[in-house]
């Protein structure tokens, strides 16, 4: 009766062979195309280094000023400005300034990349049922697949370092950008679109003058989500050599440095809140036409 209590499985020799075949062929693929692929992703390296140099090379008072300016521009709220500056000052005082700047540069690069890829894909998805049907399961996989699993082939191809880290972060942070762009465009009032059609708008005019502006609040929510997901990936990305706040956390886990872990953890939370408040406030201000509504 053992066949009832233990699930019948393929012969272990088969499974072993199957794994070996896949592993071998991927390894061959890596050997023959690794350099090519590395070359393909080289611009990412440049982008990352540029962001990192920018943030690390700029004197800290200027960074504080810029953040304060961004916070004010986005929210017009003194509370948000003071909160943002205070967060950064505390991070600096506790000796985590450089790591924080590295993390922020990584998150910024990942966000820029996610928007650059996600926005057009989201638009395409909103325009075609077929694209939506194809893309949806892929996005599901991207969001549910444990990140360590797709780190393996990335590391095999590109080794350890910033670029594979960035790719891992983008894979993780991209889906909300695509999904919410798609959703935002699909939610645009049909009457409004019919009106733009009736006045002879081309597809491009319809997209830029009606669909994107009206989807913007939802798209902004997507950007906000993307930033948050990118921050969440920082610690995992640290495992494959991404510099920043994730590294000390990793060290703290390995050596049981409780305080070190706590400080860096709080720093991540701090910049998460900072990013979140600023991007949300900006998203809200984009909808100012909806604030004053007629009774």
């Amino acid at each position: 009766m053992t066949w009832l209590t233990s699930f019948p499985q393929l012969k272990s020799a088969w499974l072993r062979d199957l794994q070996r075949v896949i592993d071998d062929s991927f390894r061959t693929f890596t050997r023959s195309y690794g350099d090519l692929i590395e070359g393909f992703f080289a611009p990412l390296q440049t982008l990352l280094i540029w962001f990192e140099r920018l943030l690390l090379g700029t004197p800290w008072p200027i960074i504080l000023l810029v953040v304060a300016g961004l916070a004010w521009g986005a929210s017009r709220s003194l509370r948000v400005v003071i909160g943002s500056v205070l967060t950064l000052v505390l991070i600096g005082l506790f000796g985590m300034w450089d790591d924080t700047m590295k993390t922020i540069s990584m998150v910024l690069a990942a966000t820029v990349l996610s928007i650059a890829i996600g926005l057009p894909l989201g638009i395409l998805m909103a325009r075609s049922q077929r694209v939506q049907r194809t893309l949806n399961p892929i996005l599901d996989i991207m969001q549910t697949m444990p990140s360590f699993v797709y780190l393996i082939p990335v590391v095999m191809l590109l080794g350890i370092g910033r670029v594979p880290g960035l790719i891992a972060v983008v894979i993780y942070a991209l889906p909300p950008m695509i999904r919410l762009t798609n959703l935002g465009i699909r939610q645009v009032d049909r009457e409004v679109l019919e009106a733009t059609d009736a006045f002879g708008s081309s597809a491009w005019q319809k997209l830029t003058k009606a669909q994107l502006p009206l989807a913007l609040p939802t798209i902004m929510a997507g950007i906000n989500q993307t930033i948050m997901m990118a921050l969440a990936m920082v610690v995992i990305a640290a495992m494959i050599g991404v510099q920043g706040l994730g590294q000390p956390v990793l060290r703290a886990i390995n050596n049981q440095y409780f305080t070190l872990g706590l400080f860096n953890g709080f720093a991540i939370v701090g910049i998460a809140i900072l990013f979140d408040r600023i991007s949300q406030a900006w998203g809200k201000r984009l909808q100012k036409h909806q604030e004053a509504s007629h009774g």
């Binding site: 009457e191 009106a195 708008s201 036409h289």
Partner: protein, 347 residues
């Protein structure tokens, strides 16, 4: 301003469903809407519509909800593609236009006003009114100048920097009207444009439209489910029921000679005194009887004639045309009969 142009709708059919072409012959052969629905799960939207709209006139298309009137108006600028039929405007069949031509046609020949306004909520009144011109590719200064003129004309001066959500329904529809008029297209399509407005504002907006029409002379297709509105503004009215035209003609035709019980039922509560014109019920003077001294215009309503006769205690009025020439006589008796509906009008 462009000269008014006419619209010819010929043998227009629309069937909604997965395979409309398959059933067009059956519908042509007389299959009813209910049969089509029951046996083939297709919905008959329009059946054999033939309407000829004169340049510079107001054509009202009227019917209850589900009669196909909004479907019909969307065929004129082809927001909906017909299953069969033709729409001829300036000698061109709109149904056959390739996308690029259709877009140019929509930009320059038609403008549309929507029941729910269809304004862009993220744009100011000014930018909404200028939308059609923006799509045409005019410079900002040019389109703002034109849009401002129409915003003032529809009575929204001072609100050009407001957003639609800050305006009442009536004001939003004025923006919709300004947007359509700024386009300076010879054809104006109004899809239940006033149905969402409350009665006083609706009356007000009808007046705005009639006043404007005096200046701009556009070919206006006006959809409504409100008979009073139809009778007030329509030069001609087409009555739609279950996707077919059951009667078309002037307001007088429809009130005095309803084609069937459905129409008769529809018009029985109409204020006939206001709708019927003296010219439609007058009689030719008989023999050598002298014409009455008191006179009334043929364009005046029966109610006016009755008021005048009652005030002067007269038995008849002389009827004159716009040039002042006598064209007939309206006896008190005939006016009363027409008013109460107990007399068929002279054809």
């Amino acid at each position: 301003m462009a000269d008014p142009i006419g619209i010819e709708i010929r043998n227009l059919y629309k069937i909604f469903g997965s395979d409309p072409e398959a059933h067009i012959e059956a519908v042509r052969a007389g299959m009813t809407k209910a049969e089509l629905q029951r046996e083939h799960h297709h919905v008959l939207g329009l059946r054999d519509i033939n309407i000829s709209i004169a340049p510079g006139s107001i054509q009202v298309i009227m019917g209850l909800s589900g009669s196909g009137k909004s479907t019909l108006i969307r065929h004129i600028n082809r927001l909906i593609d017909p299953t069969a039929g033709e729409i001829i405007i300036e000698g061109r069949n709109v149904v056959d236009m390739p996308p690029e031509t259709l877009r140019e046609f929509r930009r320059h020949k038609t403008a549309m006003v929507f029941q729910k306004f269809g304004l862009l909520p993220h744009r100011t009144v000014l930018d909404n009114a200028a939308y059609g011109l923006e799509v045409q590719g005019l410079s900002q200064a040019e389109r703002y100048r034109t849009a401002m003129r129409w915003i003032e004309r529809v009575g929204l001066k001072g609100f050009e920097k407001s957003y639609p959500s800050q305006l009442s329904g009536g004001m939003q529809q004025r923006v919709g009207l300004a947007r359509a008029l700024a386009n300076d297209a010879p054809i104006l399509l109004m899809d239940e444009a006033y149905s969402a407005l409350d009665p006083l504002i609706r009356y007000d907006m009808q007046t705005v439209l009639l006043d404007l029409q005096q200046e701009v002379r556009k070919t206006i297709v006006f959809i409504t489910h409100d008979l009073d509105e139809a009778l007030r503004i329509g030069d001609r009215i087409a009555l739609l029921r279950d996707g077919s035209v059951i009667q078309q003609g002037t307001a007088q035709d429809i009130v005095m000679r309803p084609a069937d019980d459905y129409v008769a039922n529809f018009v029985q509560h109409v204020d006939r005194g206001k709708v019927l014109k003296v010219g439609a019920v007058m009689v030719q003077p008989q023999g050598a009887e002298p014409l009455p001294d008191a006179s009334i215009a043929a364009e005046a309503s029966i109610a006016d004639a009755l008021r005048q006769m009652a005030a002067g205690q007269l038995q008849a009025l002389r009827v004159h045309d716009p040039k002042g020439q006598p064209v007939g006589v309206i006896p008190f008796r005939n006016a009363i009969d027409a008013y109460t509906g107990s007399m068929e009008a002279n054809p």
